[in-house]
Each structure stands twice: as C-alpha cells, then as structure tokens.
C-alpha cells in the first residue's frame, strides 16, 4: 500500500525541483508537471479500493494523533484528491498548447502548488494544517489569477487576495478559540470534545469558520471575488478554480460542520444561503455578456446548489452533492477550457462575437454545449442525475421549507438554461439580439474574421474530450459513482473520533 | 599581505563577537563559531577591505582603549550637555550646519570619526564627502572650517590616525 502522504509530497517536491530543472532544460517543466500529476492519479486509483473499506490514518514525524499532525485518507480525501489530480492532469495537457510565454516554469510550479494545497486540504486531519494548506491554495491561486499580468487579472487578484486574507483572519480567530478552549488542534480530538463547549463558543467557532473558509468556498455574500477572479485568470486556471478549488473548500467546510463541530443547527441557514447563492449566481449570469463572467457567475450558482445539497443533512443529499461536484468539475472545466480557445481565436470576450464559430471549431463547440447541458441538468448527462438526486434528497426531508427551496432551485435552473442556451445558439446559429426590429443576424459586430478562425490544437481537444466522456457517459457508471459518493457521505456524516483512528 | 591582514582581522572580530554572543567557551560552540565565521569571511571576502587599514603596532594597540575612554568621556559630557539644554526651559540653542576637514583617508577611520562626532557634544555628522565632514551643530561656536575642525574633531582624529592608517 502506498503512503497517502505522497499525494502531497510528490507535487510539492516537483514544484521545488522545477527551478533547478529549468536551468538545464527550459521547457522540461511541462512534462515534469504532467508526470507528477499522473503519479498522483495513479496513487489515488491505487489507494481508492483500500480506502473504501477503511480509512487510512497517517501520522507525521511519528507522533500520535492529538500531539502531531496527521492525515486521514478516507473516501473523501482520496476521491477528492483524485478529482484534483485528474483535473489537474487534463488541464496540464491543455496548458501545453495554451500557456506559451517566458515564465512557463513559474506557471507549472504554481500549478503544482495549487494541486498540493487543495490535496492537502482534503487529506489533512488537523485544523491548523488545514489553514496552512488553505493558504497555499489561496496564494497560488492569487498569483495564477494575475498570471497574465494584465490590468484585469491584477485587479481581480488583489481583490481575491484581500478577501482571502480577511477570510483567513477569521479562520485564525476560530483556531485561536478552539485552542484556547480545547487545547487541541486535531479534528478528531476536537470532535470528541466540542460538544462540551458552551453555546456561544460553538456558535462563534462555527460562524467564524463558515465565514472564513466560506470566502474560498464562494458562499453568497463572501463570493464577490469569484466573478472577477475566474473571469480574469487564464482559462486553464479558471477551469481549475471553478473546477475544484471552490468545491474543495466547500466540502471541507461542510466536513468540519458535520463531522467535527456537529453543528446541525446551522444547516437550515446554510441551505437558505445556498439557495440565495444559487439565485444570485444564475440571475447575475443572465445579464453578462462576457463569456467568462457568465461561466463564473454560473459557478456561483452551482456552488449554491452544492451548498444546498450539502446542507440537507441526509446522506442522500451529501452523496448527491458529491456527484454534482464531480459533474461540475468536469463540465465547468470543459466550458472554461473551450472558452479559452474561443477567446484566443477571436480575440473577444463577448460571446455574441462567436457567432457561428461552431462551423470552425466543431468539436470544441459541441463539447461546450454538452457541458452546458449537463450543468443545466438535461438527461442523460451526469448533471441531470446529480440535480435530480439533490432535488429528491431535499424533497425527501418532507418539510415545506425544503420543498420551497427546491422550487427556487428549479427556478434558478430555468434561468441557467436560458442563458446557457442563448450562448449555445450563438455558437451554432449566429448572434441574436432582442431589439424591436426583431431577429438580427449580424455576425461580426467586432469585425472578427470567422474564416480565419482555426480549430483548437490537439492538446486542447484531448483533455476536453476526456472530460466530455465523463459528462456524457458518466450516467453509465452511476451505480459505481453512487457507491463512492455514498461512502463519502457516510464519512462526512459520521462524527470523527480519536478512538476510531487507531 | 594586506588582504590577509584584513581577512584575519575580520575573522578575529567575528570570532570575538561569536564568543561574546554565545557567552561560553564550550568546544562545540567554539568550533561552530570558527567554521561559521570563517565561512562568512570567505564568502564575503570583499568586506574585509575595511579592516586592512587597521594598524597592528604596539602603539596602536595601546591607543585603542585610550580612544575608547576618550570617546566615552566625551559622550558622557555631550549627554549631560544635551540634557541640560533639554531641561532648560529657555532652550539655549543656536543651531547651524558647518563643514570640517579631516586628514584621515581610510573609510573605516572616517566612519569612526563621524560616529564619534555624532555622539559627542552637540554635534551630528550629516554626511562625509571626500575629506569634508558636514556637521549639524546645536550651538555653533566656530563657523570657519579650521576652527570648527579643531574644536570638534581634533581630539578624536589625533588618536585615530595612530590606530588606523
């Protein structure tokens, strides 16, 4: 059996090694990074069967759990690190063709550290270690958002950074309270002792952590960085950020809420917040013209949906949420990756300028549409099943409260469908403009020469196709997927306990 | 030869600093100190140039503590002087900026001179340029260069030029 700590160490060591390699071999970093991601994928696959039977508990520096740091590689950890490394691997393939400037070594280093940070977040079982990995994740994303060094990227990065810092500040205060009252940092230990705390302390810790980690998880009032950051980053990075970064933060928050703090009281409020997030995201996306902002707002909407699902307080809901995360990762990555080449080829961010681009880039456009359909929740794509499961799980709670939330979710879906299909129609049938004079098919307002638009390179199409397979044929493996997500749900809803680790 | 002198002197000084810092003569500390200070001196050899100018003659070795004592005395005097001025409600000051000349050439010597002047009665070195020192004087007693030089810097310079080339 492989030690799960390698999942963190391999990309980290590779990131440290890249500057050395760069001296000898200028472009070697892209292949090295690929190799590292691939290694992580393989390790994850190898570990998955073990983990589904019994979580692996790893001590660091040979000290037992409450004293030293430890990692807990349960189904959640391994599945999410698989999601992370697979997405990372595919986006790395994409980056070969997409990122072509002088500082690619730095790009790949940052990329690997982003993977490290997010993998660490899902694997760690120590709350301060979580903070450290959270910061690694955040900082690498700040930099990557500004990677192009253009005005928008920098501005978005600054906003992201300030908000992330305020969030981590709140998080640290929560850690301080925990340590002050409980004298421990290990999550299992906290879980054992937490219920004995006074109400106001528990409230404070939970709310602080929600509003601290919530910044990265893009819960509604805290997500104001998201549209800017996701739309200004290089598309490959947007794919990562939307693809797994926010989801990882979200699932970690919920893991804390469920299995560490047992704070089921907040779930109703969170469900409401989730629905608000969803509605804000979908409605705001409806008004966007910049394709990446549309996608970014749609991510907010999806996060709201996932949050709602996670707040249902039933295994079915969490399991559905994980399924939705998988779907969102694949679909949103496709959308961002494809839109990256749309932007690159046409030089415009407005989707109304991509009129009829489907004739020039057929595969990309097709996958764009399929991914969009999956996000909307159209059968038989994966997104439908996850959304259906979420809705059913919510309805299964049987209360009017959840039923009304579900109806709002469905309302959001309608809006989502409206704007996504508007884009899809533009891709295939040209621009549409709702003026009083009616239908206008004036393809090229921006003066883009569609004839010169070529197809995307193979390095971009392959990852998109592979992700497309997940989206389109995912439903064939629904039973298997549900098995895995079910065990994750089991892990999240079970209270952690120090005794159970040994 | 001068290079080696500077090198050894710096090594010596760093060693002294190390021993004082650790406050012990335990063998492991000494060895570590030797190795580390050697490393520092070797790695940053260009910084040894300052120390080449220090004379190692019996006279200079004797004069070093003398300088220290003179300096401390002047310093105490200066402080009392400043203290009096500060406490005095009338605040008897007559500030000004004057220039003085020095005959010292070595940078180290000029630096020590400048620092000494800064810490002594009512004067503050603002800059050193070639052989001129620019002084802010809280109570200007002499405005021309020669007189100022004599009044402010001479007592230090006299000793310093024996210690440092």
């Amino acid at each position: 059996m492989v030690n799960p700590i390698l999942l963190i160490i391999i990309p980290l060591a590779t990131a440290f090694f890249i500057p050395l390699l760069a001296i000898v071999w200028k472009n070697g970093s892209r292949y090295l990074a690929l190799l590292a991601a691939l290694a992580n994928v393989l390790i994850g696959i190898k570990l998955l069967p073990y983990v589904l039977e019994k979580p692996i508990h790893v001590t660091i520096a040979g000290f037992k759990a409450p004293i030293g740091i430890d990692l807990l590689a349960g189904p959640l950890g391994i599945v999410f690190s698989l999601i992370i490394s697979i997405t990372g691997f595919l986006v790395l393939i994409y980056s070969i063709g997409y990122i072509r400037d002088e500082s690619i070594n730095k790009y790949y280093t940052l990329f690997l550290l982003l993977l490290t940070g997010s993998t660490g977040m899902v694997l760690t079982n120590d709350i301060f270690n979580l903070f450290v990995f959270f910061e690694i994740l955040c900082i690498s994303s700040y930099i990557l958002v500004a990677y192009n060094r253009d005005e928008h990227g920098l501005e978005a990065a600054i906003k992201y950074l300030v908000l992330g810092s305020v969030g981590s500040l709140l998080f640290l205060i929560a850690i301080a309270i925990i340590y002050l009252k409980l004298g421990t940092l290990n999550m299992a230990d906290i879980s054992d002792k937490f219920d004995a705390l006074g109400g106001s302390y528990r409230m404070m810790v939970v709310v602080l952590i929600l509003s601290g980690l919530g910044v990265e998880a893009a819960i509604f009032p805290l997500n104001s960085w998201l549209p800017d950051a996701h739309s200004s980053a290089p598309s490959s990075i947007s794919a990562l950020l939307s693809g797994f970064v926010i989801e990882v933060a979200l699932i970690v928050v919920m893991k804390l809420v469920y299995s560490v703090f047992h704070a089921m009281q907040v779930l109703n409020a969170l469900a409401v917040v989730g629905v608000i997030t969803l509605l804000v995201g979908e409605f705001a996306a409806f008004r966007q013209e910049n394709i990446k902002r549309v996608l970014a707002y749609s991510s907010i909407g999806q996060v709201g949906l996932i949050l709602l699902a996670l707040s249902i307080n039933s295994k079915a809901g969490i399991s559905a949420a994980v399924l939705q995360i998988i779907n969102h990762t694949a679909s949103k990555s496709i959308l961002f990756l494809v839109s990256g080449y749309f932007i690159l080829k046409t030089g415009s961010y407005r989707y109304s300028d991509y009129s009829g681009i489907a004739k020039r880039m057929p595969v990309s456009s097709l996958l764009f549409v399929l991914a969009a359909l999956s996000l909307i929740g159209v059968p038989p794509f994966l997104g439908f099943f996850s959304k259906l499961q979420i809705v059913m799980a919510a309805a299964a709670r049987g209360s009017t409260f959840y039923v009304s939330l579900v109806s709002l979710v469905l309302l959001g879906t309608i809006v989502e469908g409206a704007y996504f299909l508007r884009i899809a129609q533009v891709l295939y049938f040209g621009r549409q403009q709702d003026t009083d004079s009616g239908w206008l098919e004036t393809g090229n307002a921006a003066g883009i020469d569609m004839e010169s638009v070529g197809n995307a390179p193979v390095s971009a199409v392959i990852p998109v196709l592979l992700l497309g397979i997940v989206v389109v044929f995912g439903f064939l493996f629904l039973t298997n997927l549900n098995g895995v997500t079910g065990s994750i749900a089991g892990e999240i809803t079970r209270a952690l306990s120090l005794a159970s680790l040994f | 030869m001068r290079k080696v002198k500077g090198f050894i002197l710096l090594w010596l000084f760093t060693m002294i600093a190390w021993v004082l810092g650790t406050g012990t003569f335990r063998i492991d500390e000494l060895v570590t100190g030797l190795v580390l200070s050697f490393g520092v001196v070797v790695l940053f050899a260009s910084f040894t140039s300052l120390y080449r100018d220090i004379k190692i003659t019996p006279k200079s070795i004797v004069l070093m503590p003398v300088y220290l004592i003179v300096f401390l005395w002047e310093m105490i005097k200066s402080n009392i002087d400043v203290a009096l001025r500060v406490i005095n409600p009338a605040m008897p000051i007559k500030p000004g900026v004057v220039q003085l000349k020095t005959r010292l050439h070595s940078p180290l010597a000029k630096l020590i001179l400048a620092n000494s002047i800064t810490l002594t009665p009512g004067t503050l070195t603002m800059d050193v340029k070639d052989d001129s020192l620019f002084i802010h004087w809280i109570d200007v007693e002499a405005e021309n260069i020669e007189e100022a030089t004599r009044k402010v810097g001479w007592k230090f310079e006299r000793i310093l030029k024996e210690i440092i080339q």
């Binding site: 929600l210 009032p221 409605f283 039923v403 309608i414 | -």
Partner: protein
C-alpha cells in the same frame, strides 16, 4: 419483441443517419424503411396490451418501467402513421436543403422520446423521455437556423420551465409517497389531502399546458413550429402538441382519477375541471382570432391549430364519456386535417418557395391536388360535414351541453366562427383569386409528395364516415381508464340522448352539395375570362396592379379588433424576460467592484450569521 423494436429501430436509424450523413438517398431510404417498420410493429403491438417491460438497469433503486396500454397505443399509432406519411413527403421535399443533414437524427430522437413518454410506466421514465422529447422537438425546430433559432429559443425557455415544474411535481409526489410508479401513485391518490391535490394538480397541469399550448402558455408555438422545415411543421403541429395533452390525460385519468379531482369544488358547481375548461375555451378563442390576422399560411394554421388543441382539452375535461371520446377523436382528426393542410401548404411552398399568403394566389389550377388537400383539411378544421372535424366537434358540443357547461359550449362555438374566417382566408389567398405572374410556371408536385396528401384526404373523410373504427379503440381506452366507454357504432353513436349517423349525414351533405352544384351549373352564370381582362374598383388590372385582396384580408375586422389585440402574452413574456434581467441587474450590483465593500461583506456576513445563529446553539 415488437415493443423493443419500437425503441431499437429509432436508435438504429439515428446511428445509420449519422453514418450516412452525406449520402442523401441512403439516408432517406433507411428512414422511410424504419418509419414503415415502426408502423408495422406498432400494429403488432396491439396484441400485447397490458404487458410491462423493464430496463435492465436501475437508477436510484428504481427500475425504469414501460407498459403497453390502449391509450399509449392510440398515441403511438397516430405518431407512427403520421411519421410514415411525413417521411414519404420529406423524401423529395428535403432534398438539398441547407442545414438539414441531421434532419432524421433529430426526428428519430424526438420519436424515441415520444415513445418513451407514452409507454412509460413510472414518472422517472416519463420524465427522462419527456426531456428527450423536448430536446428532440427543440433540435427539430432549431436545425434550420436563422429565425427558427430565435423561435426555438423561446420554446426552449418554455420547455425548460415546464420540465422544471414537472420535476417539482414528480419530486413532491416521490417525497410524499415514495414511489414513481403510476400504478402505485394512482392507489395513493385515492386518499390524498386536498392541499396536496391542488398543489400537484397545478404543477402537473401547468407543466403539461406548456407542451399542449394551453392559453396563456401558447405563445411559443406558432413561430417555433412554422419556422422549421415544412414537413416538420406539419408533423409537429399535428402530433407534438398532443403529447402535452397525453400528459394531462395521464394525470387526470390515470394518476388522479376524475372522482378524486371532482372533490375539488371551487365555488358551488364549478369544479376544477371547469376551470381547465375555461382555459380551454380561451385557448380556442384567443389564438383562433389571432389566426385570422396572420399573413403567413403556416402561422395561420399554427394559430388555429392551438385553438383546435383547446377543443381537445375541452372535450377531455368535460368528463363525460361522450366528451372524452370526442376529445380523443378530435386528436385523431386534428392530426389528420392539420397534417393535410400543412402538407398541402408545403407542396405549395415546394413549388413557389414561399408561404406568405400576400405573395400567393390563384394556384388552384396549377396545384389542384394541394388545393383538394387543403380544402378537405379546412372543411374538417371548420367542423363541417362530412369531414372528421365535424364528428369530434359534434361530440364535444354535445357533451358540454349535456354536462351542463353551456357557457363553455358557446365559447367554443365563437371559436368555430373565427376558424371559418381564418380558413377561408387561407384557401382564398393561396388558391383562389388571381395568379401571379411569377407563378405561371408552377406545376403540381410529383406523385410521391401527392401520395401522403391523398392518403390523408381519404382518412379525413373516411374516419368521418366511419367514426366507429376510431371509436372502437377509444372505447377500449375509456374502459381501461375506468370510464364509461362511448356507445359507438361503425358509423356513429346511438345513445338515449340522441344519436349521430355519419353515413346519413354524409350522404345528405353530399347530396346537398350535388344539388347545389347542379343549381350552379344550371344557372349558366359562369364565364371564363383571361386573368387581366378584368377590373376592380374602377381600376383595370395588369401585371403590376393585380387584383389583390390578400393583404389586410379582413381589414374591417382588423379595425374592430385592433383595440383588443394588445398582445398581452407577448408583452408579458417580454416583461418577464426584462424582469429577469432587472433582477439579475440588481443582484449583480451587489458586486460593486470596490474591494473594501467586499471585505465589509465578509465581516458583515459573520456578524449577521452570529446574530441569526446566536439563538440556535
């Protein structure tokens, strides 16, 4: 075997069409074969009513089930029959059309979805198939691009909305009763609470109303259906809409049951069905009057087709055996006459290239088959003997009056009036009047395109004369749903409240026509003149100033109705879209772009969270 062939064949068709996407002949041949085979297998299926089928895999612990019922068979027969005829028509029509390479793929996809909807045995299957069908419809409509894309987008928004409402209903049912199966749900409905009943009724009926274009939700239909390729227009308008009606029937009679629904007495005698009936009547009146003012032939038919859908609904909600039978029958008649009208128009379009009635006229001599088809269609549409529209409408009126819904009946009759006006405009503007110069070279369409028209004419007439053939199936459906079956005979019905013998009616009617024609011939009042040897309103006619009443055909009526045609629906749609936009605008103004404000949000979120959650810990 026969059953699974219904699903396997379209899949094969899709795959082959994709493979031979560039080979027109092969593609057409394959698909014609497949549609033919589907008809065959469908007929075979008549022997296996009551059987159920399961898909080999399960989802959410629910197996996807199908069952064969008479209701389903009725619909599948309609679907397959019309598909086959349309396929024959399409062979030549679709040759070398732009953007039509995936024509059959989308069509078959839609067909597949429709089969799934009608044969499904539980709501999960139903919903999946429903989505497949909606998307199939969308792709069928959108494939032509251009204006079709915009119209289809409207459909899509409606369809997604309706699907979401449907999903909400299904999920609520699942949450309450823990099952998707129709059989179990119908058991559960016998003692359902009133609130739940109202909620589900609103959700399901509301959702199906979109697909079946019931009054306030109909506005997507005319543009969407008419902008696509003409054979598809015909196909869609004749059958696609009826799947929504299928949903309503399914919900009202299979799931809920009339007796359960009738527990809902709203005010006095006005029960829930009456409310639906009011909407049905509005569906008849408003679109039909809109149809009168259309300039495009296809749009005109579409608008009046919406009205015909209203008749179907009206018949079904009337609740009596006669009414349900009439509604069911009207579905069949509508299928045929809409189809024949639109195929005729398509035939005209095939030759002239336009369906704009202002640019047509006088084609009667050039395209007589199309004329006859159209004539047969509009007779049926207007509900005049001896065509099948008369039979169904007669049933419906009859049942409405007998069930004590006179106001609904009156409303429906007003609709008929408008229908007559509309169809007269249709036939006049296309076939009568003066032939335009540019259409001098127009010929009749070739025989393979005439064939479906002829077949449909025969059905339109035949099913009217012998309604019993259709009613035999309808009666079986009714008894399988636990309703009283229609007391039918081969050529009509015979009940205590009066009977109808179509054979007699037809003979009388034909005899009357013959008499009238004789009178006409005997009168010697006709005279052949050359087209331009004529005058109108003091002007002599020539090529440039044709005798033209096409535009503003009902100018006077337009004048009267203008103040009432406020396009409320279109406006409210627009303002809904604008509202969505405005909400979006307001919501996104939260993101002010000022980073200090954003930071403020975070801490404010904490404080608010602490205040809100302070109590629950």
């Amino acid at each position: 075997m026969a059953f699974s062939m219904l699903f396997i064949l379209p899949v094969i068709g899709i795959v082959l069409s994709l493979i031979f996407v560039k080979v027109d002949f092969l593609k057409n041949l394959i698909n014609l074969t497949i549609f033919g085979a589907l008809v065959y297998f469908n007929i075979l299926l008549l022997n296996s009513v009551g059987e159920t089928f399961k898909l080999p895999f399960a989802f959410l612990g629910q197996s996807l089930t199908f069952r064969v019922t008479y209701l389903a068979l009725y619909f599948s027969l309609m679907i397959n029959g019309i598909s086959f005829l349309t396929a024959i028509f399409s062979w030549r029509f679709m040759r070398e059309r732009e953007n039509s390479s995936l024509y059959y793929v989308w069509w078959l996809t839609k067909t597949l979805g429709m089969f799934g909807v009608i044969f499904s045995g539980d709501f999960l299957t139903f919903f999946l198939s429903w989505e497949l069908m909606s998307w199939g419809t969308y792709f069928v409509m959108v494939q032509r691009g251009g204006a079709a894309a915009k119209a289809s987008y409207k459909y899509l928004v409606y369809a997604i909305s309706s699907a979401m409402v449907l999903l909400a209903g299904i999920v609520i049912l699942y949450a309450s009763f823990g099952t998707f199966s129709f059989a179990e749900l119908s058991k559960a409905y016998s003692n359902i609470s009133t609130g739940m009943l109202i909620l589900t009724l609103v959700l399901f009926i509301g959702s199906f109303s979109v697909e079946s274009a019931v009054f306030p939700l109909h506005s997507w239909l005319p543009d969407a259906y008419s902008e696509t390729f003409s054979p598809m227009s015909s196909y869609l308008s004749s059958i696609s809409t009826r799947l929504g009606t299928y949903g309503i029937i399914l919900f009202l009679f299979v799931i809920a049951g009339v007796s359960v629904i009738d527990r809902l007495q709203i005010i006095g005698a006005i029960n829930f069905r009456y409310v639906i009936g009011v909407f049905a009547v509005l569906t008849i009146i408003v679109p039909t009057f809109t149809a009168v003012f259309q300039d495009d032939a296809k749009k005109l038919v579409m608008w009046s087709g919406i009205g015909q859908g209203g008749y179907v609904l009206l018949g079904i909600v009337s609740g009596s055996a006669l009414g349900i039978g009439g509604g069911m029958f009207h579905m069949m008649s509508m299928l045929t006459f809409e189809s024949v009208i639109l195929l005729s128009i398509a035939a005209v379009e095939y030759r002239t290239g336009t369906t704009n009635m202002n640019k047509l006229g006088g084609l009667i001599k050039k395209q007589p088959v199309a004329f006859i088809g159209l004539l047969a269609g509009i007779i049926a549409l207007a509900g005049i003997p001896p065509m099948n529209g008369f039979v169904s409408k007669w049933f419906i009126y009859r049942s409405l009056i007998l069930s004590g819904y006179p106001f609904l009946a009156i409303g429906a009759m007003i609709g008929t009036l408008a229908t007559i006006l509309a169809v007269y405009k249709l036939i006049h503007n296309i076939f009568l009047g003066q032939l335009r110069e540019e259409y001098n070279g127009v010929k009749e369409v070739p025989f393979d395109m005439q064939l479906p028209i002829w077949i449909l004419i025969i059905i339109v007439w035949g099913s009217a004369v012998f309604p019993g053939i259709t009613f035999s199936l309808i009666a079986k459906i009714q008894s399988s749903l636990g309703l009283t079956p229609v007391p039918y005979s081969l050529n009509g019905i015979a009940t205590s409240a009066g009977d109808l013998d179509m054979l007699v009616v037809s003979i009388v009617f034909v005899a009357g026509l013959v008499v009238a024609y004789m009178v006409y011939l005997l009168g010697h009042r006709r005279k052949h003149v050359i087209q331009y040897d004529n005058y109108a309103a003091g002007h002599f006619l020539n090529k440039d100033i044709p005798y033209n009443y096409n535009a503003h055909f009902y100018a006077g009526m337009e004048h009267i109705f203008e103040p009432y045609r406020k396009k409320i629906i279109a406006r409210s749609e627009k303002s809904l879209a604008a509202l969505t936009g405005t909400i979006g605008d307001y919501l996104r103004h939260i993101y002010t772009g000022n980073v200090s404000t954003y930071a403020y949000y975070i801490v404010a979120a904490f404080v608010i969270g602490a205040i809100v959650l302070g109590g629950v810990f």
